[in-house]
């Protein structure tokens, strides 16, 4: 064929051919990994969070918790008090991701590399329904009496037979006073055209839609599909107007601190820490109300040291110990009035309404109930249709 084209520079043909193959090969290489990544999603590593496999009960305790959710020296003092050797890992980053990773092991009754985990309450409820959590032995947990009564009666876990709250936090609005030029008090401020394109919402369905439902007169504590849909429609309407800049996870904080956004849906503890560096940042619970989240300590049925895990829970629920945690992570205590213990450690924290909220604030907060799998999936899909397009 080449001979039929005298105008084509012959010496280059071989290289052209070579390069062409190279390109096709490169295309295959590029296509390959993205496909692999795509299908790795559902069934990858049922492997445990690593290590720990050789530990078998007795003196060893393995704990998985969220990052930055502990006080310096806390684990060491527990080890000293209990005589247990603790392997403490900050490898819990995302409820759903974690669930995807461990579900096959838990179903098969295989060790997941940890004796105690701290998922959010909705995830704990799911685990309870699946029968994957050990029942707690109250006789080993005398300090359980310190738990706030509103958290003891939970739709996720009546009387707290399978889970104990670790921290609570408020989902509200954070704003940059310099960017807004005024104080923010309500959801109406969020939709103020003055802040067009400078507002971020959570992409998580419960955290994102809860306060919107409240502003529309619905209660996240008794959600219906209509109410969720109504709130999602409101968000979609504002999105189409260009009001909403981004749907975020925990990364809302960067945009807020750098002044890219004026108002953001936010978690109280984050804002306390951010405001230490940037005094312009404020956190409020909107007038129409906000929601609250609870992370709970649970023991999977595959635990190798249930007694040790319960000892840890009881240690955490000791008021003096718990105060150290609160001062470090600055979320809302799950134990009854902690003012005295906090004042002893750090009077500023005790006085901070975001850490130690007054009753009036707590009254404005609603908690999502435990939802059935079907409802949870339905609501998630409704909101994903808005945030994903």
């Amino acid at each position: 064929m080449a001979g039929n084209h005298p105008t084509r520079p012959v010496p280059d043909l071989s290289r052209r051919r070579f390069l062409g193959r190279g390109a096709a090969g490169a295309a295959a290489v590029v296509l390959g990994p993205s496909l692999l990544a795509a299908c790795g999603g559902d069934d990858d590593s049922a492997s445990s969070g690593g290590g720990g496999g050789e530990n078998s009960g007795g003196k060893n305790l393995r704990i998985s918790n969220w990052p930055f959710y502990i006080a310096d020296g806390f684990v060491a003092s527990f080890q000293k008090a209990s005589g247990l050797k603790v392997s403490y890992k900050e490898d819990f980053n995302d409820n759903e991701e974690w669930f995807a990773k461990v579900k096959d092991s838990l179903k098969a009754g295989q060790d997941i590399g940890t004796d105690l985990v701290v998922p959010s309450e909705f995830m704990a409820a799911r685990l309870i329904r699946l029968g994957w959590l050990d029942k707690l032995d109250d006789s080993k947990l005398p300090n359980k009496a310190n738990l706030r009564s509103d958290l003891l009666d939970s739709t996720a876990d009546a009387k707290r037979e399978h889970s104990l709250p670790y921290m609570s936090g408020m989902v509200g609005l954070a704003y940059n006073r310099k960017a807004t030029g005024r104080d923010i008090t309500s959801i109406d401020d969020l939709w103020d055209p003055k802040f067009k394109g400078r507002v971020t919402l959570f992409s998580d369905q419960q955290d994102g839609l809860g306060m919107i439902m409240q502003s529309l007169g619905d209660d996240p504590a008794n959600p219906t599909e209509e109410a969720v849909q109504k709130a999602a429609d409101k968000v979609a309407e504002e999105k189409d107007k260009g009001q909403i800049r981004r749907f975020t996870g925990n990364d809302y904080a960067d945009d807020l601190a750098s002044g890219n956004t004026a108002i953001a849906q936010a978690y109280s503890g984050d804002v306390v820490q951010l405001a230490a560096d940037n005094p312009d940042l404020n956190f409020i619970v909107p007038e129409s109300g906000g929601t609250t989240f609870v992370d709970v300590m649970v023991i999977p049925t595959t635990t190798r040291n249930k007694a040790g895990a319960e000892e840890w829970m009881n240690y955490v629920y000791d008021r003096a110990n718990y105060a150290k945690l609160i001062v470090a992570v600055q979320y809302v205590p799950v134990l009854t009035d902690m003012t005295d213990e906090l004042t002893k450690l750090d009077p500023d924290v005790a006085k901070n309404p975001l850490v130690n909220p007054p009753a009036a604030t707590l009254d404005k907060l609603a908690i999502w109930p435990s939802l059935s799998d079907e409802d949870e999936a339905k609501y998630t899909t409704i909101y994903a249709d808005v945030t994903g397009e």
Partner: protein, 291 residues
């Protein structure tokens, strides 16, 4: 003796096939099998509970029709962004590759090194760094605002411009390097010959340099367009609520909504459309003897 000689020859004849076996096995395990499983997933239906899905294969083609009808905006957007990024990369990279290949003298390797330097920083960090550069209070927005060149949103971050810009930035070296390779191999005597035959610079470029660099243009375009159209990092961090690409949708379907069949179908739609675009492009460039 004759027998051993024959078997020796035979074993030598088998050697190349034995050597290729590891690669074939690797591709079979990590490419063919996952592809097959992805294809099956895309035609399945979830019959189990919501959170412990049991996928049942039943030729469920509605996953595909739903993928088109529900996410047609993102599909179009991905191709527009990917195409724009490829075009801008080509326009930026061609002169650069040309200068490095012909005009850089002893700085050639140094300049090539500079093109690759950004790769030493991870993709994610490079993208996040753009957030700082494009920030609303940043100098770039300030300068563009003063000369009246800001997009209608009055900002850069969280706009389609930022997404395309991020794609161009992240994939530019993939365009420069193949272009450089094909230009560098070009025999300068061919250009001299064109001059001798009274062709001007433009004509010499159009008739000699450009046709001979076409393999580089093709390879570079594929290396930029394919990953750019499927990218989700740039849209996630630099884009806003109106700039999501198909990659973001697939991520959300897999990880949040957990509709694996829908996500798998979307992956195949993306792959098929990219393949079609690539074939059309190859055909249009008249490089049928390349592939």
């Amino acid at each position: 003796m004759a027998g051993t000689a024959r078997s020796g020859r035979r074993s030598r004849a088998f050697t190349p096939y034995l050597l290729v076996l590891p690669a074939v096995a690797y591709l079979a395990v990590f490419f063919v099998v996952p592809m097959w499983s992805l294809l099956r997933t895309s035609l399945s239906e979830n019959t189990g509970s919501v959170f412990l899905p049991t996928l049942e294969f039943n030729w469920n083609f509605t996953n595909y029709t739903d993928a088109f009808s529900d996410f047609h905006d993102q599909i179009v957007r991905s191709f527009v962004y990917g195409g724009l990024a490829t075009l801008i990369c080509l326009v930026l990279a061609y002169p650069l590759a040309y200068v490095i290949a012909f005009k850089s003298g002893r700085y050639k390797n140094f300049l090539l090194g500079l093109v690759i330097v950004p790769f030493f920083v991870t993709f994610l960090v490079r993208t996040l760094a753009w957030k700082t550069i494009l920030a609303d209070d940043g100098w770039l927005v300030d300068v563009l605002g003063k000369v009246g060149m800001l997009p209608s949103e009055g900002r850069l971050l969280s706009t389609s411009w930022a997404v395309v810009g991020g794609l161009v930035y992240n994939f530019l070296p993939f365009m420069v390097l193949p272009l450089y390779v094909s230009l560098e191999k070009l025999d300068p005597r061919l250009i001299e010959a064109a001059r001798d035959l009274y062709s001007g610079s433009w004509r010499a470029f159009r008739k000699v340099i450009l046709p001979l660099s076409m393999p580089g243009v093709l390879a570079g375009s594929l290396l930029v367009f394919i990953p750019a159209a499927g990218d989700f990092i740039n849209a996630q961090y630099l884009g806003g609520t109106q700039n999501t690409m198909i990659g973001n949708v697939i991520e959300k379907q897999f990880l949040v909504v957990k509709d694996y069949p829908a996500a798998a179908a979307l992956s195949f739609v993306l792959m098929a459309l990219i393949l079609a675009a690539v074939l059309a492009y190859t055909w249009a460039l008249g490089t049928e003897d390349l592939v």
